[in-house]
């Protein structure tokens, strides 16, 4: 087993990885930028090294600085987490050159799936159905894109070739809107991934986003751990995930799993990975992309399979054979995850920054909290807005939903705004209960203002009144002020007991 693992990441995933290392008896090394000195992952690790100013490109994305820390700390493996350098083939290569194990797939597999256009072409050759879009490999220029767009058909999506996490994507309904969408998508992709290349994909109407989790060792063995449903999204960013997916039956699961394994074996994949599919109303599924890393939503798969995916990643990177054959994988019960972001759902999800003054975590049966924050944590605009993942397990989907409602109610964050009310509203929605939703649900068919219980406005009125009354009492206890100031208060007679 490795002696010491460096976690090249921050926030909740860094804490998650440290936990797996602790469970394996492996020492941990954290890296941090100026604003992360007091972060949970730094306090939790065995060693911690400062790597630069807050902007990611001067710290968490600096391969040279991270490898310097490997040198100083004597770490023999690196876990890249998700985002940042996790899907940069040059980082995996640099690790190999340095002689430090990269806990992830080979650089060649990262590269093959990293260029989304190449990925589509590669798996298509292996007989995997893909979402219709621009064919062939390589970066297309605007002129070529504009020319081929009508063949792809509208509405379509402009997507970042090296993208992920829903960034650098734009929905385009008409050809006239395409030029502006290209400018905007390229700029966002350039900022997020360092490359503004884009490709086109036809929008599959009424599609659900279903992905399959894979584990492959370095000896050619590969299994799938079932699927996840990720259709609750906003601006192409996932907000809520569940395992298994509500309308996937055993047969569809088996077929999608086989295709996912086939795609992975086509590129000689090893370690953890996820194949994303779009599934239409007729249960046809199409390859969307493959994520060659650990994903944010991995906990729901862990909860229904009982497998610790991060521990398996570390074992696989050490050269161990997979401990499971496909027949050993059983899905038990139902898990749901809510991503708690620092965003205000009542104000168009505007990001919220500031200090977390108080924090109350949910607990009790079937509740898991993967958090990167603590009381006193500062939320800054330099990194993405994910604070915590709330994950619940239930014997049935219904039980999981009720349990998530309980967990959300127990979760308290004071000091910044969070999207907890949004999740609460989704869980009240009849369509969500019935599993009747697709990727357009949040943006088109859902509103924060629905279904207010009728007694609540009066309770809110009473609370506001009492707060105002209390404030008034406190204020009139400080009766000062220049006597020459003629104000409304004085005119109306402000003196009170």
């Amino acid at each position: 087993m490795f002696n010491k693992i460096l976690i090249a990441n921050r926030g909740e995933i860094a804490v998650r990885i440290i936990r797996a290392c602790r469970d394996l008896g492996v020492k941990t090394v954290a890296v941090y930028s100026d604003v992360d000195r007091a972060a949970l992952h730094v306090r939790y690790a065995d060693e911690a090294y400062h790597i630069g100013p807050p902007p990611a490109r001067e710290s968490y994305l600096r391969i040279d600085k991270i490898l310097e820390v490997v040198e100083r700390s004597g770490a023999d493996a690196i876990h890249p987490g998700y985002g940042f350098l996790a899907e940069r083939p040059e980082f995996a290569l640099a690790c190999a050159e340095k002689g430090v194990a990269f806990i992830g797939p080979p650089a060649s597999a990262i590269g093959a799936m990293g260029d989304k256009a190449v990925a589509r072409a590669t798996v298509q050759k292996a007989g995997v159905p893909v979402v219709p879009g621009t064919e062939g490999e390589g970066g297309l220029r605007d002129k070529e894109i504009l020319a081929v767009a009508p063949q792809v058909g509208f509405p379509l999506l402009v997507k970042a070739t090296f993208g992920g996490g829903g960034k650098g994507m734009r929905l385009v309904e008409r050809w006239e809107d395409l030029p502006r969408a290209l400018v905007s998508a390229r700029r966002e992709a350039e900022a997020a991934f360092g490359d503004g290349a884009v490709y086109l994909e036809k929008v599959v109407e009424g599609a659900r986003h279903v992905e399959v989790q894979l584990l492959a060792d370095q000896h050619g063995n590969c299994v799938h751990l079932g699927e996840r449903e990720c259709s609750i999204q906003r601006r192409h960013q996932k907000l809520m995930e569940e395992a298994p997916a509500p309308f996937v039956d055993d047969d569809l699961r088996r077929r999608m799993g086989e295709v996912a394994v086939r795609a992975a074996q086509a590129i000689h994949y090893s370690n953890a990975g996820t194949v994303e599919f779009l599934v239409d109303k007729d249960k046809n599924f199409y390859f969307l992309e493959m994520n060659t890393r650990l994903q944010v939503e991995h906990p729901v798969t862990e909860m229904v399979t009982g497998i610790d995916i991060v521990k398996e990643q570390i074992r696989i990177a050490r050269g161990r054979k997979l401990r499971y054959a496909q027949d050993d994988i059983h899905l038990n019960g139902w898990a749901i995850e809510c991503r708690i972001n620092a965003e205000d759902p009542f104000n168009d999800f505007v990001p919220s920054t500031g200090r977390i003054n108080a924090l109350g975590r949910p607990s009790g049966p079937g509740v898991r909290v993967d958090s990167g924050i603590e009381e006193g944590s500062e939320i800054t605009p330099y990194y993405d807005s994910l604070l915590t993942k709330l994950v619940v397990w239930g014997e049935t989907r219904g039980e999981a939903i009720v349990r998530m409602r309980r967990a959300l109610r127990e979760y308290r964050v004071i000091g910044i705004k969070t999207n907890v009310p949004f999740h609460q509203a989704i869980l009240e929605s009849h369509r969500f209960h019935g599993g009747q939703f697709d990727t357009t649900f949040v943006e088109q068919r859902f509103s924060m203002d629905e279904d207010v219980p009728p007694e609540l406005p009066r309770v809110a009125a009473i609370a506001a009144t009492l707060a105002a009354h209390r404030r008034g009492q406190e204020a009139t206890q400080i009766v000062h002020g220049p006597t020459q100031d003629v104000s409304n208060w004085k005119l109306a007679g402000r003196v009170k007991r």
Partner: protein, 165 residues
């Protein structure tokens, strides 16, 4: 002390003259309004029904977050009501509108130009924060009277970016 509190179009007439009681539209309820953090978090017992809420005062209105629902409450005491009735009839003047940054971030594009006529919904500034681009749009029609920021500038929340008349 009498109050008229309006939430979502409904007005409740309340009487608060004891610490443990409140009368709402003629009905008297037992009340215990306990401040948890002395700032914004409260536990309210209303006839022994327990509610946890966050109360924030903003621009004279009270925002109440209760069981995942956000309410905007306007609380007027007797005095304020009389004053409000006295000044009614004065229409608000149009004036210069300041477009402020809703969050801290980096200015990556400024489509608005001094002197341009803009319509409601036109994109004035693009602000990058938490790795996403956010379009700041004109809340109403007008003319751009000032561009108070520049490309690649880091701005604070609440900082004025554009003015419109």
């Amino acid at each position: 002390m009498k109050y008229a509190t309006t939430v979502g179009g409904q007005t409740f007439i309340m009487d608060v003259n004891r610490d443990d009681q409140v009368t709402v539209d003629g009905e008297t309820l037992a009340v215990d309004f306990f401040s948890i953090d002395q700032v914004t978090e409260f536990s309210l017992l209303l006839d022994n029904h327990s509610y946890e809420l966050l109360v924030n005062e903003a621009d004279g209105d009270y925002q109440v977050l209760l069981l995942g629902h956000l309410f905007n409450a306007r609380v007027e005491d007797e005095r304020a009501r009389r004053l409000a009735q006295a000044v009614r009839g004065f229409a608000p003047t149009g004036g210069e509108l300041q477009i402020k940054a809703p969050m801290p971030g980096l200015i990556v594009a400024i489509p608005a130009m001094l002197g341009h006529v803009v319509q409601q919904g036109d994109v004035l500034v693009i602000l990058e924060s938490m790795k996403m681009e956010n379009e700041i749009k004109a809340p109403r029609d007008g003319v751009v009277s000032g561009v108070r920021t520049q490309l690649r500038q880091n701005v604070e929340q609440g900082q004025t970016l554009i003015t419109i008349t």
